[in-house]
Amino acid sequence: MTVLPWAVAAWLLGIGLYGIITSRHYLHLIGCLTVLQSSTYVLLLSAGYRWGAGAPIFYDHPPGTPAVDPVVQALVLTDIVVGATVSALLLALALQVHKRRGTLDPEELRPLRR
């Protein structure tokens, strides 16, 4: 059971990749990309955990109480917001593709097929 966090991260990565490879709609593909990104968040936060420790906020209890790692939390925090913005950029690209070609199916949009 102690390998559960790493297994969940690997599973999310695998299923996200599977979703991207077998996707038939570009919006579905962007959703699978979100799942892929969330696997890295799970991995990082699990790497920073410590049994019996609290959050790294020392407002209520004095500094020195056991706390988890704040560095990985800082990494994941900015990552989530920037990941959402990059997804927005991808969505705008998908909209332009739809305007030009009328479809959002990756199978129909192969470069050499006109």
Binding site: T2, P5, I21, Y49, I57, F58, G64, A67, P70
Partner: protein
């Protein structure tokens, strides 16, 4: 490559990589038991050195402030890219009639939604500002507060009709807010250099721990980030919802 062939290749590759994945998972450090030297150092030093109580904010805006500068500009670039893509074909006209899909009418807004949104949108905006201001004390910060303020703007859209909402949300203001936020962060970096210190070094008075004004330069960089994130998210919201308006006579779509 046909989809079926692609799926077969994927499965073969997954099976080939599976022993490696299992080996890595079994050799990972045990969950919750291994040493966290960098984290322990920050937890020990940051309250003393910077007089803050939120270690994540201290790492984000002070110890690793340079990385956050990069992330903020990544955000700016992505928002600019999305805006250029969306506005480039549509032009900069503002129209406030919502578009209709064929055969589906626009449902009138329900009074329950209007009441809830009108009550909660100001509360959410205030809460967002609270989260931003208490960055160095309690969980919160520029990134979280900025997104919450963006959600407050979303609630405003849900409560009012598209027409009303579009009339008072001018994208020029939010352009300026986002740009100001990014500029504040960079100036907060160059400011210490003019006093002889290094880029982004914390040279402002540190204040007292657990007070609202503490942490020195963290306040400035935090404010810059909050402005940039809030402005960026509201801009994205505006542009995505603007795509749903009805086309005027002269639009090229």
């Amino acid at each position: 490559m046909k989809p079926a062939a692609r799926l077969v290749v994927t499965l073969v590759a997954a099976l080939a990589l599976l022993p490696g994945v299992v080996a890595v998972i079994l050799h990972m450090p045990s969950f919750g038991d291994h040493a966290l030297p960098y984290g322990d150092a920050i937890n020990r030093l940051a309250p003393v050195e910077r007089h803050v109580t939120n270690m994540v904010t201290a790492v984000n805006f002070d110890y690793r402030g340079f990385d956050t500068l990069g992330e903020e500009y990544m955000l700016l670039a992505a928002v600019t890219g999305a805006l250029v893509l969306l506005r480039g074909r549509r032009g900069e006209n503002v129209s406030d009639a919502p578009a209709k899909a064929d055969g589906r009418s626009i449902a009138p807004r329900s009074p329950a939604v209007m009441l809830i949104c009108r009550f909660f949108a100001p509360v959410l905006l205030l809460f967002g500002v609270y989260v931003v201001l208490h960055a160095q004390l309690t969980p919160g910060g520029g990134f979280q507060g900025g997104v919450i303020i963006g959600s407050g703007a979303l609630l405003l859209y849900l409560g009012e009709s598209y027409r009303t909402w579009r009339r008072f949300m001018r994208s020029l203001i939010f352009d300026m807010i986002e740009a100001t936020g990014a500029l504040i962060f960079v100036l907060a970096g160059f400011g210490p250099m003019m006093a002889g210190a290094k880029f982004l070094e914390n040279t402002l008075p540190l204040g007292q721990s657990r007070a609202l004004i503490s942490g020195g330069l963290i306040l400035v960089t935090n404010a810059g980030t909050a402005l940039a994130v809030a402005g960026g998210f509201v801009l994205l919201l505006l542009e995505f919802l603007e795509e749903t308006r009805a086309l005027d006579a002269g639009d090229k779509s």
